[in-house]
Structures are given as structure tokens and as C-alpha cells.
């Protein structure tokens, strides 16, 4: 037997369309509600509303939760990494609210990884979302994802990249499994680890799947060969020069250029040698003679000569850049018998100065990332001297590769070079130190925090000292304050602040920018301290 129709259904249709049945409610409830419901003169509409109200109350008061299906999903396994310190967790909450530069989040994650701890559970959805939108954040996030995060990531399709990739999981022990079954990103990480352990086996694995990899995978996976790169990789890379996609070919070219004995490097060198010559002139020193390539043959096209467009340069000058960029610049100081400073200085006397500088800087960036040899460092130092003394045009044209060359250095080497530069500059800085400030600004954006205390102190002293006297139009100084606040060692900044008289009456309106600078430095100070408390 079925009970009466739910009053809710009757309410949907309306009494005008469907007359009310005599029994509106279950017998048990109808007895209790009859006094109001069946009162004389109760219209159908009134009866319907009262019945609905009574039936709702009846249902709510008598609610019994249904039994759960017996299929219990797996709960997450115990964590292996320790908790994040509470104070650091509070800092992360403030970071997630926003208002701080993104790099502070990265620094927070790095500090957490340094502590060997894991992300607090309550922020996992936010952090997984964030790194889903910004893949660049993932390498910093991975080491601090615990078992819980790996478990949680299996519940949300967009988080698949993080599923099962927490540190301490089986992935490091069995790279093959992640290599065969993982998403692209996990495969890249697995291949990278594998290259570290056994470069030959890892390359063989890539060769085996190469022909079936889609183009995007090829580019990402090929770049892993940069780890543990050696002569044995040459034949595979040489074959990749014939790939259908330009980015894949270029990745192969860059890797081959880093192998000086590779056939690719030898071909490039053979193309390069006739391009630059010196001429010794009686009593007038040397002159650099540049003969850009007249034509490019099929082999040169295959090696990527002419692949790139350089604004403001002619076609042949562009070929010159591409060839120079493949060759270790120390080659020129040796073969031309000139110091790096002389090479760069003499480039000014040619018609191809821009092309030469672009080519050499590109080459510096490429080769410094591979190995910071003394010859290359001498070139970088020479370039820096010229760069700091040049006008804005030269600095602007070469900024990305020049800053890239510094950023490619091992951090201690970069910091030592910067320290030497800063200590050689005047204290405090004034307007003429702008190029150095620009370099520091760009490196602050491009390299991880924190910079060492001695470098930070040297910078902070010169910077703070400079501010009271600087005119308001010094936008370069003003815009460098923010980035520097994200990298300088906070304790060193406070030390510099102690001897600093302040802005006095601040005629040029620096107060606001300085307040923001110190606010960020203090925030990072608090952040760094927050990791020193026990969890």
C-alpha cells in the first residue's frame, strides 16, 4: 500500500489544477494534525500549507541517517615527514590571503623543505590549486607534499600531477615505474633522477620511446639530458637535430653546443673561425675584423643558423649571432690572442658590435650553465665591467642574456661576484650607480632568496645611505626596492638600518617606498624565524 502523495508535489501543481485528496498526511501524523487541518472552514490552500509544514516538521524531527554503503574508500597512510611549525603555518595563511610577492611563497616552501617538514593539511587544497595554475611552483612544492597530499590529489582530476609523488614515496626507488606510468611531469622528474644515477640507461629508455612521444613530451624530456650530459649522448642528440619541431631541434642544438668535441660544435667552430680576425696595426694597436657569413648551406640550416630573429639586425648579422652563441667565448680570447676586455672593447670599432655582444652573451649564458670555467668567468667579469659603464641602450639590448648568464652561475659563485662588484662601488650609492642597481634588481627577480649576509649588508648599507639624497625621479632605485626586499638577508638589513639616520625630512617622498621595503623585510624575518621554532 502506498502512502498519500507528498504535500510538496501538490504544492508544485497548485490546488487550482489538482484537487486535494482527502488524506493529505500519513495516518500517524494526520491524527496529530487533524485539529488544525480539518477545522471547519479550512480552505484547500490553507490545508495544503499546514500539511506541508506539518510533514516537514515530522520528517525533520524523525530523520534517521541512512546506512553508509559498505565500500569504504582507502584512508591515507601515516605521514613520514614531520609537521610544519605552527608559527610558519600562520605565516602561510597570511601569504595565501595575498598582498606579498609570489617569490615569498617560494621562499616559504624552500624553508619548509629545508626543515624537512610537510605542508599543513588545511592548506593542501589551496596549494594544489595554486601549483595546478602555476606549474613553475611544482618543483618547490613536491618535496613538502606528504602522504596526505598524495592521497588527496587522487581525489581531484586536476591534481593528478601531484598524485603519488610525495617525497619518500616509491618513486625514487623505482624510477622506471614513474617513467612508464606517470603523467608527463612525473616522467620528467623520473628521467631527471634516472640521469643522475645512470645516464646511459636513462637515455636508452628515452630512445626506446622517442618515436612514439608527442612533440610536447619530446621537448620536456629531451631537456633532461642536460643532467649528466656526456659524449655518449651525442649520436642521439645529433639525430634529434632532424626533428620536425623547431623547439626540439633548438634544445638538441643547445645540448650539443655544450659538448665541445661533438661534431655539431666542430661544425659551428669551422663556420666561426673565418668570421673574426685581428689585424695588428703599427702604433695603433689591434683591430677586429668581422666578416659575416655570406651564405648558409643546408648543413648550417640544419644546425639552426638563422633560426632566430633579432630586431634591428640584418639577416647575415643574425647568422653571426647564432654561430657565435654556440661557441665557448674563451675560444676567442685564446685564438685571437686578446683578453676578454680587449675583445669586447674592440667590438666597438666594427660594424657588427650589437651582433657580437649578443652572440657572446648568449654563449656565456649557455656555457656558464654547464660549467663555470675560469675562462668563462673572466669573460663574464669583462662583460660586467663594460655593461656597467655602458649606456642604457646596450644594457637594455643584452639584459636578458646578461642577467641569464649570472643567474646560470652556481649560487655561491654568483654571490661572490656580486659581492666584489658591490664592494667596489661607492658607499653610499648615488645616481651614477644605477646600472649596478639595475643588475641587482633583475637578479633579485631571477634568483632564489635569501642572498648571503655579507652581500646583503653591503647592498643595504649603500642603498639606505643613498635614499635621502636621491631625487624622486630615480625610478630605477624606487622599483629595485621591492625586488631587493624579497632577497636580502633580513638580519643584515636590520644591521644596516641600525647605523642609518633615516630619511630625515624626506624632501623627495621616499617614506612610503621605504616603509614597504622594511615591511616586507620584517615579514620575511618573521617567516624565517617561524621555521626555527620547534613544530
Amino acid at each position: 500500500m502506498t502512502g498519500p502523495v507528498s504535500p510538496h508535489k501538490l504544492l508544485l501543481v497548485g490546488t487550482a489544477r489538482a484537487p486535494l485528496p482527502a488524506a493529505l498526511l500519513d495516518a500517524e501524523l494526520a491524527g496529530a494534525a487533524s485539529a488544525a487541518l480539518d477545522a471547519p472552514g479550512a480552505t484547500p490552500e490553507r490545508r495544503l500549507w499546514l500539511a506541508t509544514g506539518a510533514s516537514d516538521l515530522w520528517t525533520r524531527a524523525g530523520y534517521l541517517p541512512p546506512p553508509a554503503p559498505s565500500t569504504q574508500s582507502m584512508a591515507s597512510a601515516p605521514e613520514q615527514l614531520p609537521d610544519c611549525p605552527l608559527a610558519a603555518e600562520a605565516i602561510l595563511k597570511r601569504l595565501l590571503v595575498g598582498g606579498q610577492p609570489a617569490s615569498v611563497q617560494t621562499e616559504w616552501l624552500t624553508l619548509l623543505a629545508g626543515k624537512g617538514a610537510r605542508l599543513p593539511e588545511r592548506f593542501l587544497p589551496n596549494m594544489l590549486d595554486l601549483a595546478t595554475r602555476q606549474p613553475a611552483l611544482r618543483p618547490c612544492l613536491r618535496p613538502v607534499l606528504g602522504t596526505r597530499a598524495a592521497w588527496l590529489a587522487t581525489l581531484e582530476p586536476a591534481w593528478a600531477w601531484a598524485a603519488g609523488t610525495h617525497s619518500g614515496s616509491d618513486n625514487e626507488a623505482h624510477p622506471q615505474q614513474a617513467w612508464h606510468e606517470g603523467a608527463l611531469e612525473q616522467r620528467v622528474a623520473a628521467l631527471d633522477n634516472w640521469r643522475r644515477a645512470d645516464p646511459a640507461a636513462a637515455r636508452a629508455a628515452l630512445e626506446a620511446t622517442w618515436s612514439s612521444e608527442p612533440p610536447d613530451n619530446r621537448l620536456a624530456l629531451l631537456s633532461c639530458l642536460g643532467t649528466g650530459l656526456g659524449a655518449a649522448d651525442e649520436s642521439f642528440l645529433e639525430a634529434a637535430l632532424d626533428d620536425r619541431r623547431k623547439p626540439v631541434r633548438q634544445a638538441a642544438q643547445r645540448l650539443l653546443a655544450r659538448l665541445p668535441d661533438s661534431s655539431f660544435s666542430q661544425r659551428m667552430l669551422a663556420r666561426a673561425v673565418p668570421l673574426l680576425q685581428t689585424e695588428k696595426r703599427f702604433l695603433r694597436g689591434s683591430r677586429l675584423i668581422v666578416a659575416p657569413p655570406e651564405e648558409r648551406d643546408a648543413a648550417a640550416i640544419r644546425d639552426g643558423v638563422g633560426d632566430n630573429k633579432y630586431t634591428g639586425l640584418g639577416e647575415k648579422a643574425g647568422w653571426l649571432v647564432d654561430i657565435l652563441a654556440a661557441i665557448d667565448p674563451s675560444h676567442w680570447s685564446t685564438s685571437l690572442g686578446l683578453s676578454p676586455d680587449e675583445c669586447i672593447a674592440l667590438s666597438a670599432g666594427t660594424d657588427y658590435r650589437e651582433a657580437l655582444l649578443l652572440g657572446w652573451t648568449g654563449a656565456l649564458q649557455l656555457h656558464l650553465a654547464h660549467a663555470a670555467t675560469p675562462g668563462l668567468l673572466a669573460w663574464l667579469e669583462a662583460w660586467t665591467r663594460i655593461w656597467l659603464a655602458s649606456d642604457g641602450t646596450v644594457r637594455y639590448q643584452n639584459a636578458s642574456a646578461f642577467v641569464g648568464a649570472y643567474a646560470a652561475l652556481p649560487a655561491p659563485t654568483m654571490h661572490a661576484m656580486l659581492l666584489a662588484l658591490v664592494e667596489a662601488s661607492r658607499m653610499p650609492w648615488h645616481g651614477a650607480d644605477l646600472p649596478l642597481v639595475e643588475l641587482l634588481h633583475q637578479l633579485a627577480d631571477a634568483t632564489p632568496a635569501p642572498w648571503p649576509a655579507d652581500l646583503s649588508l653591503a647592498i643595504a648599507r649603500r642603498l639606505l645611505g643613498a635614499l635621502p639624497a636621491l631625487p624622486a625621479q630615480q625610478w630605477s632605485f624606487r622599483s629595485a626596492l621591492g625586488p631587493l626586499a624579497t632577497v636580502l638577508d633580513p638580519a643584515a638589513v636590520f644591521e644596516a638600518e641600525r647605523g642609518w639616520p633615516g630619511l630625515a625630512d624626506d624632501p623627495h617622498g621616499w617614506q612610503n617606498a621605504v616603509d614597504q621595503f622594511f615591511h616586507l623585510v620584517r615579514f620575511r624575518h618573521e617567516m624565517i624565524l617561524s621555521f626555527q621554532e620547534p613544530a
Binding site: 500549507w49 509544514g53 516538521l57 525533520r60 588545511r122 596526505r148 581525489l155 615591511h519 620584517r522
Partner: protein, 445 residues
């Protein structure tokens, strides 16, 4: 003493929180000090004289000489945050005169408030009472007329059926809601406006049933109001409140205060046309009794009574009169401190029985506080909680933090507090390993 996170939770808005944390720097402050009751400091602002900032640690309460209309202002937050970060900067000191003046003033005002009632002459009291009664009678008549119209309107709606009500658009609802405001039954007007929102939530498949239930409840309320005198006195108070009569604070404070250690278990803040409302859920540690505090703030100011979740205080509450008293005011509050433990929740069936009992005496309860031990969010559906004895409790469709809840639990049981409406649960906070997570503020959306 509160922790930095709890202090920041007191900020009226994000800008104040940020400004406050910027001011939590030693260089900004002079003459820092504290004693058992208060802490204070002087902050150099843009003016000539430094601002004098002070905090009464008991409640806590803030006072600052700055002209900001936000409350607490950034200086108060900054001072408290500075103390949380670097307590050694604050020396135990005798309070300076300006601090003493304030604390004494607060004490005097508290005493005056209590004396005030006894102060007036009998004639004046009688005259103003007569006036008030006249106003009330007029309003009562307005409400009776308004509710009669509403009942007719609802009956027309039942005749037409609510399946087609969407087509009538928002104006249909707005007209009746405005009529309720004119009839001085604003509370019902607000409910109609909210109910009309259900019609236009295209993503809610259950909107027709929910709308029907809400309107039926309003109809029953009209019905109850029409025979108000026949109801038990406590329920009369509930019905009067629900149609829009406000209860003066004096009436509430005249009720017998209930002393306990009150634990602040959850808090939600909602913005409704220029006014922010804040609901705070308290539970008595000794009695297990629930209390709900409502506070309002307008124009971007903070709430006058700072209350941080995850804290507890010794105090006495006075409850609004009603058949199942829930809403309360704080009469006395002292010794605010972080929460370390909460009493276990009753068994689920006991809780559901208590809910039925509560509905039996006060059928209009819409937010029923429910604490559930050992429940695990269901990772497959994300729309329910699994109880220890293998049953499923549905979660409210508006609950947006299922993944956060799953992250916290990892599929393992935890303690959840929320509002139960007889059909589903809206989780408001989670207690796990000695920590309280207030979902509204501690899970970032």
C-alpha cells in the same frame, strides 16, 4: 593572551589586518608596557603627538587616541601583534595615568549601567512606559494586518502552484517583502527575500522543495502569530522575535545569568546590504549548553565585541527568552585564553533525539548546533559525513570546503561542529588533535 592568528581574526577587514601587521614593529612604538589587566604603547603616526593605544586584556577591549573609525584600529592590532611576536619588549610596569583613566572609566560605566534603571523617578517611568505601549499597540496592529495579507498571498500561491513561480520574476517577491517591511514585520520580509533567491539558483536541483518548506514555515508562523495568546509564554516570545519584534537588552539581562566556561567553537560572518552580521557559537564546557551570539556592524567598522574562535572564557550569559533558548548576550567575560580541550559530543542518536525534543517545543528552530565526534568525510561523494557506526549524514549543498575537510581528515575520523537543519549539516568548524579550525576563517576559499 591570544596568538597572532587569533589577533588578526579580530581585525575588521583585510586592510586593517595588513596595516596592523605593518605596525607590529618595535621601531614604531614607544613606552611599551603591561600589567595584569592591560597593555599599552605609544605609536608615532602622521600627527604631531603619538597615538596612545591600550588593550584591556580581559575581553579583550581596545582603545586608541587615533581618529580611525575602524574598530579595533590598526594601532590596537599592531600593539597586540607586537606583544605576540616579541613579548620581551613589554616591561611589567605601573600603568600610566591615561591607561588608568580608561580602565577606571570602563569600570564606572559598567557600574552606572547597572544603576541606571534605578535612577529614574516613578512618574517619568510610568509616562514613558505608557507612550511605549501606545507605539507597540500600533505596531502590533500593523503586523496583524500585514500577516493577514501575507497569508492570503501564500494561499493564492498554493492555488497557482509554485512550479511556475519562477516566471513571475523577482518583482513578485520584492513587492510582498516590501509590504512586510511597511507592516513593521521586517524579519519576515528578509525571509521572503532570501526564499525568492532559491527560485533563481539554477544550480540547485532541490529548490522547489526547499522553497516549499520555507514558505510553509512562514505560513505556520503567520498561523502561530494569529493565535499568539493561546501559545505557551516562552513560545510567544519566539514567535514575536521571528516576526520582527526586537527584545531590548535590558529584558535579556534581566534573565538569570548562566555561568560556565564558554568555549568559542565557531564563527561565521555574512554581509547583507551594508550590514555585516556575525554569528558566534558557544558551548558551556561544564553544562554542554549551547549559545548563539549575534553581532552586527555597519559601515566597515569591526565588531564591538571581539571574540576569537579557538578560545574560551569564564563568564555568564543571559539568554533571550524563548521555548528553547539559544540566542544570548554576554553579561560577564574574563580570562580569555586559547582552548585546549572540548567535552566529547553525545552519541548521534542522542543528539537527533534532542533535536526532535527541541522542535517539539520550538518548531521554528532553523539553525540547530550539532557537534559530531568521529565522523569522516566521504571521499567518494564529498557530500556526506560517515559516522562511526556506519551511517551517512548529508552535507549542505552550500558547503564549499569538502576538499579542505578531506585534506584535514585524510579519510580518518575527526570532530565536526555545524548547523543542522533537519535535512543536512553545514559544517562550521573542525576539532582535531587539540586544534580548532574555524572553516569560515581558517580554510582559505
Amino acid at each position: 593572551m591570544l596568538k597572532a592568528e587569533q589577533i588578526l581574526a579580530l581585525a575588521p577587514d583585510a586592510a586593517s589586518a595588513k596595516a596592523g601587521s605593518q605596525l607590529a614593529a618595535p621601531a614604531k612604538w614607544g613606552t611599551l608596557g603591561l600589567d595584569g589587566n592591560a597593555m599599552w604603547g605609544e605609536c608615532q603616526g602622521s600627527g604631531k603627538l603619538p597615538y596612545r593605544t591600550q588593550i584591556d586584556l580581559g575581553e579583550p577591549a581596545f582603545k586608541c587616541s587615533c581618529p580611525s573609525r575602524k574598530f579595533p584600529c590598526k594601532h590596537g592590532l599592531g600593539l597586540y601583534l607586537l606583544h605576540a611576536a616579541q613579548p620581551t619588549l613589554f616591561n611589567e610596569n605601573e600603568a600610566p595615568q591615561w591607561v588608568k583613566d580608561w580602565l577606571d572609566g570602563r569600570q564606572t560605566r559598567r557600574e552606572k549601567k547597572e544603576e541606571k534603571a534605578a535612577d529614574q523617578s516613578p512618574e517619568a517611568v510610568a509616562a514613558s512606559a505608557a507612550q511605549a505601549r501606545k507605539r507597540e499597540d500600533k505596531r502590533a496592529q500593523n503586523i496583524v494586518n500585514g500577516l493577514a495579507d501575507l497569508q492570503t498571498w501564500l494561499e493564492d500561491l498554493a492555488r497557482e502552484g509554485i512550479a511556475t513561480v519562477r516566471e513571475r520574476g523577482p518583482a513578485f517577491w520584492e513587492g510582498m517583502a516590501a509590504r512586510m517591511v511597511d507592516a513593521q514585520a521586517g524579519a519576515i520580509g528578509n525571509r521572503l527575500r532570501r526564499a525568492s533567491g532559491l527560485c533563481f539558483q539554477t544550480a540547485n536541483p532541490d529548490w522547489q522543495r526547499q522553497l516549499g518548506s520555507e514558505l510553509a514555515s512562514i505560513y505556520m508562523l503567520c498561523q502561530a502569530h494569529a493565535r499568539l495568546d493561546a501559545l505557551p509564554a516562552p513560545l510567544q516570545a519566539d514567535v514575536r522575535t521571528l516576526v520582527g519584534w526586537s527584545v531590548p537588552q535590558e529584558t535579556v539581562f534581566a534573565e538569570a545569568p548562566i555561568a560556565d566556561c564558554w568555549q568559542v567553537l565557531a564563527q561565521i560572518t555574512e554581509d547583507e546590504s551594508r550590514v555585516r552580521s556575525r554569528t558566534t557559537w558557544l558551548r558551556g564546557a561544564a553544562s554542554g549548553r549551547w549559545a548563539m551570539l549575534l553581532h552586527y556592524s555597519a559601515g566597515g567598522q569591526g565588531f564591538e565585541v571581539p571574540l576569537a574562535t579557538g578560545t574560551e572564557f569564564d563568564g555568564a550569559l543571559c539568554f533571550y527568552p524563548g521555548a528553547w533558548p539559544l540566542r544570548a548576550l554576554i553579561k560577564e567575560q574574563s580570562g580569555t585564553r586559547p582552548l585546549h580541550a572540548i567535552a566529547p559530543a553525545p552519541a548521534l542518536d542522542t543528539t537527533l533525539d534532542a533535536y526532535a525534543d527541541a522542535l517539539a517545543v520550538q518548531p521554528f528552530i532553523d539553525r540547530y548546533p550539532m557537534l559530531l565526534d568521529a565522523v569522516a568525510p566521504d571521499s567518494a561523494s564529498r557530500t556526506s559525513l560517515r559516522t562511526a557506526d556506519g551511517r551517512l549524514l548529508p552535507l549542505h549543498a552550500s558547503f564549499r570546503h569538502a576538499l579542505h575537510l578531506l585534506a584535514l581528515s585524510g579519510g580518518h575520523p575527526l570532530t565536526v561542529f555545524g548547523e543542522w537543519d533537519g535535512v543536512c549539516l553545514l559544517p562550521l568548524s573542525v576539532w582535531q588533535d587539540g586544534r580548532l579550525f574555524n572553516i569560515d576563517t581558517e580554510f582559505n576559499a
